[in-house]
């Protein structure tokens, strides 16, 4: 169990590319933190620096109370689960799980007992003598988990561990990993590009973009109060609607649209207005005209894709609501409106 703190961590590759800008944050003991962002945003680099697989250009990394900048990965008391699982193909499941313990000079009897325990916990007991090639994707994933769990490390690191699984299995493993982490109480850092994974698994999410932290917060904070237009459009499916507008004196006017809407904030100038698709209500007496182009049926709800004054817009309605293509009137819940600076994209 350990707290992990990054103080002014920065990564510049020898070719001059800055993968991670100076970042600082602390992960509490037992916390499940998800690093999320599009590919190339530096999330994997950050994880690999924590693991010790990548050198830290600048800054201090602490696991527990120990500065580990120059500590070998083997001595950082961490365990990592890789995207392709990185199981040793020529070893049985038993040997795969026990390899780390064996290298640390654990007595054979103890290894056997610990491997059995881990296998039982992960429902792998009957596969212990198989080789990875004889296992299904989900089982391989579990072996990779077993390899991490068996050493009882201070910190779990996950590098997109579910992206090689099919959708159904992914949902199931998501829950299993989360439950396992809860039960063991081990601090975990999880990297993913899938915002659903981030939302469902994290205690706290760190959203990264182009090597920079955009926002740190609980899933609910990130979803409801995105710190920037990037976070707003990255988190949530469908993403938050972002429309250009002019604002002044407690009112906002959508560009290309003549009507004024009242807003609580007072700010004057160009803004980007954000609203979640589920915070829009179809309303015959609504103040905004919305042109529906496409109806997307999702079972539990329906998505209406279209535009407000030629700016793309999406509305989510319940499965019992009716809608058809063409012009319709909507109301935006005023308390759900989020305003961002048009130039910087930062929250106002």
């Amino acid at each position: 169990m350990a707290q992990v703190s990054l103080e002014g961590i920065r990564k510049v590759y020898p070719n001059g590319f800055q993968a991670v800008e100076t970042t600082s944050f602390t992960i509490q003991d037992g916390e499940f933190v998800v690093l999320v962002g599009p590919s190339g945003c530096g999330k994997s680099t950050l994880l690999r620096m924590i693991a010790g697989l990548e050198d830290i250009t600048e800054g201090t990394l602490k696991i527990g109370d120990r500065v580990v900048n120059d500590v070998d990965p083997a001595d950082r008391d961490i365990a990592m689960v890789f995207q392709n699982y990185a199981l040793y193909p020529h070893m049985t499941v038993r040997k795969n799980i026990g390899y780390g313990l064996k290298n640390r000079g654990t007595p054979t009897a103890e290894i056997a007992a610990k491997v059995e325990d881990a296998a039982k916990m992960l429902n792998l007991a009957e596969y212990l003598d198989r080789k990875p090639a004889q296992l299904s994707g989900g089982q391989r994933q579990r072996v990779a988990m077993g390899r991490a769990v068996v050493r009882d490390p201070a910190l779990f690191l996950f590098d997109e561990p579910l992206s090689n699984l099919d959708a159904k299995l992914r949902n199931q493993m998501r829950i299993e990993i989360k439950a396992l982490q809860r039960r063991l109480g081990t601090t975990a850092v999880y990297v993913t590009h899938d915002q659903v994974e981030a939302m469902t698994m994290a205690d706290r999410i760190i959203v990264l973009n182009a090597g920079k932290i955009e926002q740190i917060g609980t899933p609910s904070e990130i979803y409801h109060n995105p710190a920037s237009t990037f976070v707003a459009s990255f988190m949530g499916a469908p993403p938050m609607n972002l429309i250009e507008a002019e604002m002044g004196q407690g009112q906002v006017r959508i560009n290309g649209y003549d009507q004024l809407l009242p807003v609580p904030e007072t700010y004057a100038g160009s803004v980007t207005m954000g609203i979640r698709p589920e915070d829009v209500v179809l309303d015959d007496r609504g103040s905004v005209t919305f042109r529906v182009d496409i109806l997307e049926e999702l079972g539990a709800h329906r998505l209406l894709h279209g535009a407000i004054a030629d700016q793309p817009f999406t509305v989510m309605i319940g499965k019992d609501d009716t809608a058809e293509t063409g012009e319709t009137r909507i109301t935006l819940k005023p308390e759900a409106l989020r305003l961002f600076d048009k130039a910087t994209g930062q929250k106002l």
Partner: protein, 297 residues
């Protein structure tokens, strides 16, 4: 009364078409293999005749009566200039050379490839290309300096002198490098986190993964080493270090006291010299194909 008679459909067995293309292919294949088989077969049949017959009538296609005698003489009769070396000793020498050569090459080239692929050496690429260009410098090109070096080190007429100068292998290094580069990087990282140092990773992970590769290269290199002629001829003057490949020639050349050379024995020895490489290829051909075509990852 429902008496339904099941009408059996008239069986129309399609007349099997004669596939001329297949027949043509097989004819070519059979002729080709017969052609390839002919020399060893001829060697075997000729080896069953006595030296006089062979000397007088040339190669024989029929089996004679002296097969056992010739093999026996080839393998167990002390011969050569000093009358101390027989076929079994030469067979053993050939095995020592073949196996030492193959094992040495595999060990050296695996370690070289490991260093080039897995360690951030400053001039790794340069080193690799330097090794690679030695393909242009086979033993025959550097034979004089090699001989001089070995001779100055006093390694003539030793197994060390016979094997060591030959085991640096650009081909092997190249094969292993390509293979190691195809091993996922995460495997090395996982092993690192699992506390395996460079040596452990090599022994515990890479070597077992390279099994089929090692087998394939072993076969090639064993045959190559077994068939070495020039280097052993140069470096060994002591007959007790002679290999089979040299021994054959020795028998044919033994025109002493206007005797007829023992052609039968020489051919018997040639057959013996052929068996181990053939056997190795036959027994290991599965591994061989696997090692060269697929990687067991």
């Amino acid at each position: 009364m429902a008496d339904t008679t099941l009408e059996t459909p008239a069986v129309t067995r399609p007349r099997r078409k004669i596939k001329w293309a297949t027949i043509g292919d097989h004819t070519v294949l059979i002729l080709g293999s017969l052609l390839m088989m002919l020399p060893p077969l001829l060697a075997l049949t000729t080896a069953s005749h006595d030296a006089v017959t062979i000397h007088r009538e040339g190669l024989q296609l029929t089996l004679g009566d002296d097969l056992g005698k010739n093999f026996n003489a080839a393998m167990f009769e002390k011969g050569g200039f000093t009358q101390t070396v027989d076929g079994t000793l030469m067979l053993m020498n050939s095995f020592i050379l073949g196996i030492g050569f193959a094992v040495g090459k595999i060990v050296i080239s695996m370690m070289a490839a490991y260093a080039i692929v897995y360690f951030r050496l400053r001039f790794a690429t340069l080193a690799f290309w330097v090794i690679f260009t030695t393909l242009l410098l086979p033993l025959e090109v550097r034979i004089l300096p090699s001989y001089e070096a070995i001779q100055k080190l006093g390694l003539t007429n030793t197994y060390t002198g016979l094997i060591v100068p030959l085991i640096a292998s650009a081909t092997g290094t190249f094969f292993f490098r390509q293979f190691f580069m195809s091993v996922p990087e995460e495997l090395a990282e996982a092993a690192r986190i699992d506390g395996a140092g460079p040596w452990k990773f090599f022994i515990d992970i890479l070597v077992p993964l390279s099994r089929t590769m090692i087998a394939a290269i072993f076969i090639i290199m064993f045959v190559f080493g077994w068939n070495q002629y020039l280097w052993p001829t140069l470096i060994t003057t002591d007959e007790s270090f002679f290999t089979l490949v040299r021994g054959i020639k020795q028998i044919v050349l033994s025109y002493t006291d206007s005797q007829i050379p023992e052609h039968g024995q020489a051919l018997a020895l040639a057959i013996v010299a052929m068996i181990p490489p053939v056997a190795i290829v036959v027994f290991f051909q599965n591994w061989f194909v696997k090692g060269l075509t697929e990687s067991d990852k």
